[in-house]
Structure formats: C-alpha cells, structure tokens
Amino acid sequence: MTQEDSAALGRTPLYDSHVQAGGRMVPFAGWEMPVQYTGVLPEVRAVRESVGLFDVSHMGRVRVRGADAFAYLQFLTVNDVSRLPDAGGAAQYSLLCLEAGGIIDDIIVYRLAEDEFIVVLNASNREKDLAWMRGHAARYSHLIIEDETEQTALIAVQGPKAIEMVDALSDRDVTMLPRFGLDETVVGDVQTLAARTGYTGEDGVELFCRADRARALWHELVDKGAQPCGLGARDTLRLEAALPLYGHEMDEHTHPYEARLGWVVRTDKRDPFLGKAALKELKEAPRSKVLVGIEMEGRGIPREGYSVLAGDEVVGRVTSGTFSPMRGKGVALARVAAAQGAKGTTLDVEIRGQRHAARVVALPFYKNV
C-alpha cells in the first residue's frame, strides 16, 4: 500500500470515535476501519454475552424508489421481493446473480414502503454492484437509484442484551420488532431506521441514520455499556454463525447451491429474474462441490486456502477459518467434493505441510438467535 492509496481510503463518520477509543485502523475494501479495540476475544465475548457495537457504515447503501422499484428489484434479485409486505417494514437477504448463476454480491433488501427500498451491499462490491444496478435500470421509466452511502451511517448493535438496550433508548417498542422487521424509531435523540438484522448469530438491530448523527448515536450506545467491536470480532462471529462472506464462500465463479445459499433463490418466483434459467438448471443438477463446516480434532487452526484431504487426495479447500472462542477449537467453512461432505466424515486439513485431523460437523458452529 502506497501513501497515495492510503490517502484515498474512505473514512466513515465514526472514524474519529474509533481512533479516540483506541481502535486499530486498517485498510478494508477501500475504507479505514477498526480491526479491533481491546482485542478480538473480549469483543467476541461482549457480543455473545452482552452487547457489541459495530460501525458498518462502509457497506453500500442504495435507495431504490419509484413506481417501478418493485418490478426492478424483482428482476435484479433472486429472492422474491413480493414476500415483503407492500406497506414495507421488512427486509430479506438476497443475491445479485449473473445470467450464468455466479454470485455478483449478497445483499439485504429493506422495504420501506410500497415503492421505496434500501439495498445494502458489501463494501468491496459497491462500485461493481452500482454499475450492474444502473446497467439494468434503462427499461424502467419510474425508477430512481441513489447511492446514499456517504450521506448515511449504519451501526449494528448485537448481542443478547442489544434489544433491551436499544429499546430503553427508543420511542418505540423495539422488542416487538420481528426478525428482519424494520421500523423508524428515535434512539436517544437520533432519528433512525431500525432493522432486526445482523451478521453475528446473535439477536440485535442495525440502525441507519444520517451521517452527521452517527457520532451522537454511537456515543449514546457506548455510554450505556455497548462494547465497540472491530472487523476481527465481526469475522469470527459471522464464521461461528456460518454466515458466508463474499469473496470467501462465494464469488462470480460460485453459484448459490455451492455456497449453502440455495434457499435464497426462488426459482418458483413468477416474475423473470437475472440468472433464473441457469439457476433452475443448477438446482436440479447433481452437486459436485458443497460448502461444509469443519471442526479440528486437535489444536491446529485452519485458514483460508488450506487444502482439505481425504486419504492422500485433495478434496477441497478452506474458504474461511479461524479459532472459535465458543467451541475452543479451530473451525472452518470449506468447499469440498460432494462425496466428502456428509456430517461426521473425517478429513485432514494441511497446515504448513502437516496433516491435522478434522471432522465435518453440523452448521452453524454457534448461534443464539
């Protein structure tokens, strides 16, 4: 990384708060983000036992609105937007797929009203996704696509006590919000859109607010005892919850059925959508590769890219691996030959030239929501 590259990195509205709190800033997907504050282990513990706070403002936020917004998103995404109530107030996990079925990005579609949505994108894919989205907009006359990433912030409040904490600060009954529900609410004195979503395997909300209100909201929550958490804890938490990460479990050369994401694809959706024909075929085709969970028998830690062996044969590769604080062991997601994917199968992971015994286990490794 050169000086110029470093200067070009984006900073979220919470950058100063991170630095003041001792966050260790690292480049991530074009942004300077905290990888940790006190340490990955205490931050993971805070989220598993109490409340953790994540600045996820680096993720792309695109408002899609107009009379054609629904039809447009129905065509663009593989999940069925008609499953979200017309009046809004709910969100769904979805994918943007190529015609051939490869995954462009995994996203969340938030429906605010009949003709108004916010789509949240991975930071690393924002420019690519926006180009894709705008490239498919031409045939819709009543459609406005606005990238609001810079004007807004997104804060995730996660953990078994997250709802209780936000509810105490809120003018609405946040406890009544269903999973994947969303509602406008004032938290402290900050106007937010609260969605009961997250990426940690814990209950919690993600709060959208204006960029210039992000600091007030963040410090309100810190003052109530929420632990600021960095990207390190976030990655460990999502991996324990077996939530896939773009660029690791999936990419444009991977289709949803190889990434445990077949459930997202509504091939029975009546409307046509990008990738529909290919995905219908892939759904019925025999699987050659599957994404599975692996737990180490001994003390080694599997890492991304490590080979997975059955006997002397390489049968797959680790897509994400870490030490799991909840399991007290090395765990990984790995893409392996379908024949080796059954739960209980014993495999080896090659760690620095040495084989370490592992076992295919049920996913998620840990989840509390």
Binding site: Q36, V40, L41, G232, D235, T236, I301, R303, F323, P325
Partner: protein
Amino acid sequence: MSNVPSEYRYTKSHEWVKIEGDTALIGITDHAQEELGDVVYVELPEVGRVLATDDVFGNVESVKAVSELYAPVAGEVVEVNESLNNNEATINEDPYGNGWMIKLRLKDVAEAEALLTADAYKAEIGE
C-alpha cells in the same frame, strides 16, 4: 509504548533473546504480542532440533493471524515451554517472562553480539 527491557537482545522479526552462559532463552517481544492480539495457538519445536539462524522454529497464532517464529541465533533446542500449550495468553500477559518459548544451546556464543540492542530495536519499531 511497548516494553523493551534493556538487558535483552532483539531481532527485526520481533523475537527477543536472553543470553545465559552458552544458552539463549527466546520469545516474542511485547510489541509483537500487541500487534498480534490475543494468542490462541502456539506451535513449538521438539527438544533436540538443531536450528540454523533464521530457521522457522514455530508459529504463533491469534484469532485472525498466523506469525512465523524465526531463530535469532543458531543452536540446539534444549528446552521448550510446554506450559504455553494450554495457556497461550501468557504470551500476551508476560512476553519476557513466563511467555518464553524455547531455550537453545548456542552454536556460537559470539553470534548474539550481532543482534539488535534494546535501543536499536526501539528505533526499529519507531519508539
């Protein structure tokens, strides 16, 4: 500011060396453990292994990262701190004391003279 005891010698790869007669005690520096974060796994060599200078003698892993450990000097491994195997946090808590990793019998006692002094190591890490 991390701790850099003046009586130890150091490497650019953040190991420390404490010379005791013809043996050297080796571990990683306070700066290294801070950079690494909470240590969750450490892989150390067998007693009896003969190491050349700069040989990889093990690995230390945090939740997120793997770091190789390099032999600052040549010698034979005569002792390994087995207690670290279930108490990896000791490396974070007491890197220069109970967090020591291996003891070498030096091949050439004079070799330690070429290692960084505490002041040189402080300059190396910008402190």
